[in-house]
């Protein structure tokens, strides 16, 4: 187990998040947001703003900051603030005030007098269902709808009709905000034609490219640093404050800080959309699935954009079924945009599917674990590509034994005034990799750097680089210095899609092996200390294969002997032909126990267990943190968080007192277990992702436990007290 390399900085307050950088003469920017959901800005009277003490500049669509079009590698064509007068949602950035101090900028921004040509806004999900359109699921090449039918079956309806037992229910999940503890913020410094931006993000090399486009300077003149990131979860692929601070820094020729307030984070970034999902399951009496139908609706903006892939992310792949029909629809509304958030698709999709499976188990009279194992898939339905390494059965067996699942009774049990129930669910997240380049540099002092641009927003990637680097160089971990969070490092280590470990880890192995080849060649070269010998490398040392009497030399020895201070190599890996041979995914079994007060109906999660099959676990300590954290996100989705809109499109829960996240008192000990089967078909490293799978299935496990405890099936998240009051 390896401690986080950045833990000493984080526990002493010395870790420098974006706004912890102290730069002489930095001005402060503050955003102004729209207060209507749809229409056009008629006027913005900012005379009072401009006249307020300390104000340096006021930017609005009437007097915009120059921003040039951005085609983001991650997000496509980006919407740029203050460039047009259209208002698309309540809480959209419409102004940016820069002043000498934070207080002056904030207080001046409050003086803006804005008039709108307001138009009727569509903000209700349920009202919008009639205008739903087929839409491609996010991050997918798949068509909106997909049907797999057994020979001789004419339609999914026929297949359902022919099933012995069917269930058909509709589930709803609330929109959510990433709510990373660090609000989106940036410090931009423009000096000598170079732009340096300190901003928390998930991939500094990609953000640097976006910012270079936005302020129209060469990409190599932009330098983005994010050595630490105060949480991301999919919400920091881009940064509104970084855009505005960068453009203002250039325009004003002085450093500019900008941060969203907590309230602004809720609307001026992007959220996980609300979903509605209808699922019909048909099965034989023995539990064998005959038909799965999963239709999904996701709220979107009028431009559609991101569609939460709830059907494609779950029912497409999880269970063996003879017949499958899934669809994705968008419900365009005048609400803030949506984007990726931890387990996009799988998290809300699994609430629906895994609740439905629980309902089916009850309808059949079968144990929910047994029903899941009965339909365990060896490949996605209708596809030939078998799972590379799937041990879900083992997860359930270990989990059931560890959790005491055999003690579960259909009606739950009673403990004093508390109704106690148990629930379970499957978890799955695809095993993915992204292209990544990692640099390994050997130093003459015997240490080695392992470096990639990337980010470690708490995921543990920094420790992974150290562990894999040390292992690949065959040196102790304390000789390896991992480096991340700098756009000038080799491009890789994007924090997203649960890909960083498999991607940057395998690239580290390639880079290490390349630098070792170079080292060996150097040692035996004309200038080398082992010139003329056959040279090998082991245990971090170079030695002469044909002269065992000679002392092995460390790479530091070799470098010093040749008068070099460093030797570097990069390694690049990318998904390859393995994707044509297998399907890849991490799997897990989630178990939850809840206690519901018989009178007042608060739901308290009393036990949580997750058993995960995520390939090789590189660092159990941080892996546990990721998985336990994800599981607690699942509890939060089940019982706490949810965005709500007023009829006029104003978000009505947009601070941390109203938008509830669990507090320490809500969370019991969380038991995380691994079944460790290295997946070397995905990459030589053997690791699959685990940053996202922790959340998957948990909300369903909670809802299933609540049903077990109370007999009440709640099909809408979050589950609240009023859902459990029979007389409410």
């Amino acid at each position: 187990m390896t401690a986080r390399p950045d833990a000493p900085l984080k526990v002493t307050g010395r870790a420098t998040y974006a706004l912890d950088n102290v730069v002489e003469g930095a001005a402060h920017g503050y955003l102004v947001l729209s207060t209507v959901a749809r229409g056009e800005l008629a006027s913005m009277d900012v005379e009072a703003v401009r006249a307020a003490p300390g104000v340096l500049a006021v930017y609005t669509p009437f007097e915009p900051l120059p921003l040039h079009p951005v085609n983001s590698a991650l997000l496509g064509r980006m919407w740029l603030p203050l460039q047009d007068k259209d208002v698309r949602y309540h809480g959209q950035p419409i102004g940016f005030v820069v002043a000498e101090t934070f207080e002056q900028a904030r207080d001046a921004a409050a003086l803006a007098d804005v008039a709108y040509h307001e138009r009727p806004a569509a903000t209700s999900f349920s009202d919008g269902l009639t205008s739903a359109v087929d839409a491609q699921p996010a991050a997918s090449e798949a068509p909106p709808s997909l049907t797999v039918l057994a020979d001789g079956v004419a339609s999914i309806e026929d297949a359902l009709e022919a099933s012995d037992v069917t269930i058909d229910a509709t589930y709803e999940t609330a929109a959510q905000n990433h709510a990373a503890m660090e609000p989106h913020s940036a410090l931009a410094v423009w000096s000598g034609g170079e732009l340096t931006v300190y901003a928390g993000n998930q991939a500094p090399h990609l953000v640097a490219s976006d910012l270079a486009s936005a302020v129209d300077v060469p990409v190599d003149a932009v330098h983005v640093e994010n050595p630490v990131v105060g949480g991301a979860f999919g919400g920091k692929a881009t940064s509104m404050p970084a855009l505005l601070a960068s453009a203002a820094a250039v325009a004003l020729d002085r450093p500019v800080k900008a941060a969203l307030t907590r309230e602004q984070v809720f609307t001026a970034t992007a959220n996980r959309p609300a979903t509605r999902q209808r699922i019909a399951l048909g099965a034989r009496r023995d539990g064998g699935l005959v038909a799965v139908r999963h239709d999904s609706w996701s709220t979107t903006t009028r431009e559609i954009g991101f569609v939460e892939p709830t059907s494609h992310g779950t029912s497409r792949e999880w269970y063996t079924t003879e017949n499958l029909a899934i669809s994705q629809k968008a419900v365009p509304l005048d609400v803030p945009p949506a984007t990726f958030m931890r387990a996009p698709g799988e998290a809300p999709g699994s609430f629906a599917l895994e609740s439905a499976v629980d309902e089916l188990a009850e309808a059949i009279g079968m144990d929910p674990v047994a029903l899941r194992l009965r339909n365990n898939s060896t490949a996605p339905p209708g596809e030939d590509l078998q799972w590379s390494s799937k041990h879900l059965d083992e997860c359930f067996e270990i989990g059931a034994a560890r959790f005491g699942w055999a003690d579960r009774t259909p009606g739950g049990r009673r403990d004093g005034d508390w109704l106690v129930g148990m629930g379970t669910a499957t978890a799955m997240f695809p095993g993915l990799r992204f292209p990544a380049t990692v640099g390994v540099t050997l130093h003459d002092d015997g240490t080695a750097d392992v470096a990639t641009a990337g980010a470690d927003p708490g995921t543990g990637l920094l420790g992974v680089l150290r562990i894999v680097g040390a292992e690949s160089l065959d040196v102790p971990q304390d000789r390896v210095v991992p480096r991340l969070g700098d756009s000038r490092l080799p491009p890789g280590g994007l924090s997203g899609g649960s890909t960083a470990t498999a991607s940057a880890g395998s690239a580290t192995m390639v880079a290490a092996s390349t630098v070792i080849e170079q080292l060996v060649a150097l040692a035996s070269s004309e200038e080398g200390p082992l010139r003329g010998h056959d040279v090998g490398y082991a245990h971090g040392t170079v030695y002469a294969l044909d002269a065992p009497e000679r002392d092995p030399m460390t790479f530091g020895d070799v470098l010093r002997a040749t008068g070099r201070s460093t030797l570097s190599a990069t390694g690049t890996t990318a998904p390859g032909e393995e994707t044509t041979k297998h399907s890849f995914g991490s799997w897990g079994a989630q178990f939850c126990e809840v206690r519901v007060h018989r009178l007042t109906r608060e739901v308290r999660v009393s036990r949580l267990l997750g058993v995960f099959d995520a390939g090789r676990i590189i660092n159990p300590r941080t892996a546990r943190g990721q998985l336990a954290g994800g599981m607690i996100w699942g509890v939060s989705a089940a019982l706490h968080e949810g965005i709500e809109f007023d009829d006029d499109g104003r978000m009505s829960r947009r601070d941390l007192a109203d938008y509830l996240l669990p507090v320490n008192a809500d969370i019991p000990d969380v038991d995380v277990q691994f079944v460790e089967h290295p997946d070397t078909l995905l990459s030589d490293l053997g690791a699959r992702g685990l940053g996202e799978i922790g959340i998957v299935g948990v909300a369903a496990a909670v809802a299933n436990a609540v049903h077990n405890a109370t007999g009440i099936r709640v099909r809408r998240l979050p589950i609240r007290i009023e859902d459990l009051l029979e007389d409410g």
Partner: protein, 331 residues
């Protein structure tokens, strides 16, 4: 935040000049000033005033015969200190312990807690109509997200919930507040101190201009020794109540002799429930009798679009609190 001047008076006479808004713990005032909800031109930091101490009442300005039989709590005592003081009745201690967070309890004072403002999201958002903040502008909560709002004591002008847990416990225990202004000192029962919104929701209490809370007195604290506070909310800590009940119960030979009950999270003011108290007297201390009495609690309740659940929840919370007292346990 608007520009303001700040002073730090060291005597009560200097403080109560009627020109200053008082700053004690600051957890309400600073928050609402940053939101531009409150824009006082002059603020007096009153932390240096001699308004501390927890102990037997020395009489103070009381003229109601309670002197010497009460527990006096200085208005500048911090919530966390009162919560841990052994002489403070259980209902008050629990109400405080279940309030806010440790940091806020360390900062916020008893006097300030009783005057904290509603958490209504429309009150806190200066871009939205709110009769309490801007009289005559309208009530956004009536047609908005009103899940957290009140079902008792509401009007067409305002449905904002009173946010204090402490006030609910103190109202149940017949506490009084002592006030001092430029015209002198007075004492008022806390239950009479708060005003339902009616058509003047901007007036929340009977506090006069410049008047300062100096003490809170809990009369006959020994009568409140058997008391409790039950708070129901969406998370287990650091959240305002959806519904809460403060109660003290005197049961002899299985029969309720006396009860004092107030509810929180459901009313525009801390909501004393004399009807329930009356319905309990003489009844057996059983769940069915408690449930029957609890029916009285919600007579006249006016639920809104999203908070209808508070009606049954109040009855259930009442039963839970009473059972806890009757069974002598604190589950």
């Amino acid at each position: 935040m608007r520009q303001f001047d700040i002073t730090a008076p060291t005597t009560i006479d200097d403080a109560v000049d009627g020109r200053h808004t008082f700053l004690a713990g600051g957890t309400t005032l600073v928050d609402l000033m940053k939101l531009d909800v409150l824009t006082p031109p002059r603020v007096a930091d009153i932390n240096a005033l001699p308004l501390r101490g927890i102990g037997a009442d020395e009489g103070g300005h009381s003229d109601n015969g309670n002197a010497g039989h009460g527990l006096r709590i200085g208005a500048l005592e911090r919530m966390s200190d009162v919560a841990e003081h052994p002489d403070v009745p259980p209902a008050v201690r629990r109400a405080l312990t279940l309030s806010a967070s440790q940091q806020l309890r360390n900062m916020a004072t008893i006097g300030g807690n009783l005057l904290q403002r509603t958490r209504c999201g429309y009150f806190r958002d200066t871009t939205m109509p709110c009769n309490k903040r801007t009289p005559g502008s309208g009530c956004s909560a009536l047609g908005g997200n009103n899940r957290g709002h009140a079902v008792l004591g509401t009007s067409d002008h305002c449905v904002a919930t009173h946010a204090s847990d402490l006030a609910v416990a103190l109202v149940a225990l017949d506490a009084e507040v002592r006030l001092v202004g430029s015209d002198g000192a007075r004492t008022t029962p806390l239950a009479d101190f708060y005003r339902t919104p009616g058509d003047t929701p901007e007036i929340e209490t009977g506090l006069r201009d410049g008047e300062l809370t100096t003490d809170v007195v809990v009369p006959h604290p020994e009568r409140a020794a058997h008391s409790t506070y039950v708070k129901v909310r969406d998370r287990q800590s650091y959240e305002f109540a959806l519904c809460s009940v403060a109660a003290s119960l005197d049961v002899r030979d299985g029969v309720v002799v006396d009860a004092r009950i107030a509810a929180g999270g459901v009313g525009t003011i801390p909501w004393r429930l004399p009807g329930v108290e009356a319905a309990l007297r003489g009844e057996p201390a059983t769940e069915s009798a408690f449930a029957a009495a609890a029916e009285v609690a919600t007579h006249g309740a006016t639920p809104l679009t999203h908070n209808g659940f508070k009606v049954p929840l109040l009855r259930r919370t009442l039963v839970r609190a009473l059972l806890e007292l009757a069974e002598g346990s604190t589950r």
